[in-house]
């Protein structure tokens, strides 16, 4: 397992949570980059890589709130294993199926964290922040998948203009 790409992913995560998350908030909706990265690594990499990457992401995300660290580690690790098993056992050819899988990952991750953190009505939080956040994260995931599956290339992007 080559470790350097994963370290770079972790740095991207650190950059996002430190600087970019504040700049990319749209009406309270933020990208769930931790879940997105874990799910993408689980989709395309090995089970071991997905498991340890999820635990590492859990530690980094949890370092902002130490009481949530074990929860983040556990949720992300479980989600990584589930996504990895699904991608290994099911034939996820279309982007739609992968997007649905990503949406479920975002929903579970954000709902559990909201349940643990939020003192407000969970349905209100779901409506106000979680669903917009899922849509925003799906948009970023969809863009990534387009590039990953070579549906979107720089040449095609330039041809639009």
């Amino acid at each position: 397992m080559k470790i350097i790409p994963y370290i770079i992913y972790l740095y991207i995560l650190g950059l996002y949570y430190t600087i970019l998350s504040d700049l990319t908030v749209i009406y309270g909706a933020t990208v769930d980059l931790a879940a997105l990265m874990v799910a993408l690594v689980a989709l395309y990499k090995s089970e071991t890589a997905a498991l340890w990457f999820a635990i590492s992401v859990g530690i980094i995300v949890g370092s902002r709130r130490l009481d949530l660290m074990p929860w983040e580690m556990a949720i992300l690790a479980v989600l990584a294993l589930i996504v990895n098993q699904i991608s290994a056992r099911m034939n996820l050819e279309s982007s739609i199926s992968r997007l649905i899988l990503l949406a479920v990952v975002f929903l579970i991750h954000q709902s559990v964290i909201a349940f643990l953190v939020s003192s407000d009505d969970l349905f209100f939080v779901m409506y106000r922040t979680i669903l917009p956040g899922i849509l925003f994260s799906l948009l970023i995931g969809w863009i990534f998948l387009q590039f990953r599956d070579v549906h979107a290339t720089w040449r095609r992007f330039k041809a639009l203009f």
Binding site: L10, G14, T18, L51, I60, G62, S63, A77
Partner: protein, 263 residues
Amino acid sequence: MTWPSTILHKNRRILRFGLAIILLVLTAVSPDLIRTSLGNFSSLLFIRPFSELKNYVVGLQNVATENVRLKSLIAESSLQLNILNEIKRENQRLREFLGFEPPVNYGLVPVKIVAIQANGHPLAAVINKGQKASISVDQPVVNRFGLVGKVKEVMPDFATVALLTDPSNAVSGRVAESRQIGIVRFSPERGMYFDDLPADAEIKPGDLIVSSGLGGIYPAGLAVAIVDSVSVRKGDILKMVRLSPTVDFFSIDELYVLISGNL
């Protein structure tokens, strides 16, 4: 016999899961020490470089904002300083003028110059008071250095002062020491000079010329000029006397109109 390494290799998947589960359980049930250590370590590696960068950029933004604020403050302070300096100069002039006594039976009306008419040299000044302030034609105008001129035209709120540097304006003068009488005139070519002074008159450079009081416009004793040079050509019956006015007509500011009768 099976080697331990073979057992580990065969069960490596279980081992990895076991390790992950142990780490999760330790993090969950341990005192804060492990969480804090893990959090600090991950922050140090992945969060702090970016948070320091963010702090640096925010600091730069604050510096830029502060810079703009300070520049505005400097401009404002500079303006205030200029105003205060002007007030200080005015205060100094007024303090000096406190020692100025108007001639007997005259009162002083302080006025400010609002415009100067010039043609290479100042000819007339428009002042900010007129008939409403009891100013009328032919009243003498002075400043703290001496005679400036006389009122030429009057409007309700403004008046025009014909300066001594107007060639059409002449003053009957007297040498303060020898009491010799002559006419103080100004021409653009010769500057200010003392006219009609006999060749044998007692006068020397440095003498003060004051108004004589003859003619009924200017009261006697107002400083008009200092004798600059004296010359007489052979056969002439009059002396040529060049004068330097006591008033600097290029920098006049506050003036006082002399009004007969105490105010």
